[in-house]
Amino acid sequence: MKDALQPVAAVLHNIVPMATDNHIFSFLPEQPMALAPGQFVEITLPGVGSFPVSACDQVRDGLITACIRRAGRVTEALYQLEMGDVIGLRGPFGKGFPLELFKDQDALLIAGGLGMAPLRGLLQALLDDPHRKARIIVLYGSREPEALLFREELVELSKEAQIEVRFSVDFAETLPSLDDRVVCKIGLVNELLTDLNFAPRQTVAAVCGPPALYHCILEELALIGIPAAKIFATLERRMRCGVGECCHCVAAGRYICKDGPVFSLEQLRTMTEAI
């Protein structure tokens, strides 16, 4: 029996500053670790604590990569580390996005704020598929233009016509000058849907953002015509163990860490009070 509570040592391999308090960290675990889009690992800083995080990229050369916000006690301590320092990783935990469903289907990725981090992991998986021909549409809302994560990369991918991107920002004096292909509006991310031209019946949607985002947008996507079984959201909860034991993450009688964190709208409709 594997001890799921025992971390594997990993070396902090690289730190790439992106936006303020949102850096990309990559770790090289002592033993190879798989991590699919939407799944998560628990990062342990011995003596400080641990926190759950999803990958923002595919595992490449054994590296686990995540975009991590400086959000509190343990993440603050991570920002004090230097390359070469040793941390612990546990995982992979949970069920990620069903990649097979995205095959031959248009992908609609909708992110709010830090929600872009896990969706960027999904995006990388889609881009890595050499046979993929279907559209990839990214709708991404953030408080202000500076807080848009992976902004340059998304604009670049859009220029190369690999994806279609629309940004929204809650506040801005002036909108950033982006490429002509990139739509940018002031408002909420669901407003980006209104004049979006796409084929709901052949689309799979993935949504990740703060709890408030889920209240309206999931049912809105269903109303537009995306089948509820093809609309996915990843739920955030306090998570400690990751394996369905400690009870912190429970919602609607289910261990979000184990049964999720990715659920379809079809599932969520039966999960009272989960969103």
Binding site: Q6, R240, C246
Partner: protein
């Protein structure tokens, strides 16, 4: 559910003595009432055969899921593995705690520290007398453990228990049913999940939770409460130990995430959550009522909150 257990044995005096010796070698713990009036699980002071089942203030779970246990340590860039526990025994376990043990066995089926202890423990149940607070129910769920002893009768609850009985010379089998106390199953309230959910906004919750002090005592003494947190401890030599310690769904931080969002804010929500867990179960155990009716929570609660009473009100039944 577990009226008969086969095989069950009629033991001769010499077989009983051999068995008692074998158990004594395992430095058994047993529930014992101390001078302060509190019943604790502690090293057995008298003979195995003269002990009896008692409801300890803190239940059997503390043996397998200790209030605080070391999970690993970290020094010079290395995480160390777990130490294996020594074999041990627990005797005088009441039937409700054997049911609770079955429940925890399911929850922690893949948990290495828990299973290490279970594999090295001999758990021996004994008959108890029904207390006025008890509402146990033999139909609720199966029993876990290794042996059940009632004077010259012995029941094998596990292959290890059976092997031990045979090794001690047990031969003759009987068809005696387990000595359950005259259970008051009929008085347990039936609450359906629909009733629980439809009462989502009912004043019943707010009212029931009004007096709750969020002290968490009910979960500490509950034999099927198992939630935990993990906290680090640093030593002066630079080494770090991660401990797993009991947590409690009544604590304000239980469902809070970074940024301050609380997925279960307020006492009423937390009381509801505890009730949901007890009566309906989570994950793979959804549908399994895990309140074994031991009455510990009711007894310990400083403001007399009683889940059964809340259930009765939610289900619209008259109070008994």
């Amino acid at each position: 559910m577990t009226d008969f257990l086969s095989p069950n044995y009629l033991l001769t005096p010499s077989t009983l003595d051999t068995l008692a010796d074998a158990i004594t070698k395992l430095s058994p713990l047993a529930p014992q009432v101390n001078a302060d009036g509190l019943c604790r699980l502690q090293p057995l002071s008298e003979g195995v055969l003269s002990s009896q089942a008692l409801s300890s203030f803190v239940p059997l779970k503390k043996v397998f899921l200790p209030p605080r246990e070391k999970l690993w340590s970290f020094q010079s860039g290395q995480f160390s593995a777990l130490k294996q526990p020594e074999p041990f025994a627990v005797v005088g376990v009441p039937l409700c705690d054997l049911q609770a043990l079955w429940y925890l066995d399911q929850v922690f089926a893949d948990d290495l520290p828990y299973q290490n202890r279970r594999a090295r423990a001999l758990v021996v149940g004994m008959p108890c007398e029904q207390d006025k607070e008890c509402r146990c129910d033999r139909q609720l769920m199966p029993l876990a453990g290794d042996l059940f002893l009632d004077q010259e009768h012995a029941w094998a609850l596990s292959p290890a228990g059976e092997a031990l009985l045979r090794a001690c010379g047990a031969g003759e089998t009987t068809n005696k049913p387990l000595p359950w106390p005259t259970a008051s199953a009929g008085t347990r309230p039936m609450l359906t999940e629909e009733q629980y959910r439809s009462a989502a906004d009912a004043a019943i919750w707010a009212e029931a939770a009004k007096g709750c002090l969020s002290c968490g005592a009910c979960s500490v003494v509950c034999p099927t409460c198992y939630c935990f947190d993990m906290l680090d401890e640093s030593a002066t030599d630079g080494s770090v130990t991660r401990n797993r310690s009991w947590d409690n769904c009544f604590f304000a931080e239980h469902a809070k995430v970074a940024g301050g969002h609380d997925f279960r804010s307020g006492r009423a929500n937390r009381l509801r959550f505890r009730m949901e867990h007890k009566f309906f179960g989570f994950g793979a155990l959804h549908g399994q009522n895990s309140c074994v009716g031991c009455g510990r929570c009711r007894t310990v609660c400083p403001v007399d909150i009683d889940l059964d009473q809340i259930a009765t009100r939610l289900s619209g039944e008259e109070l008994a």
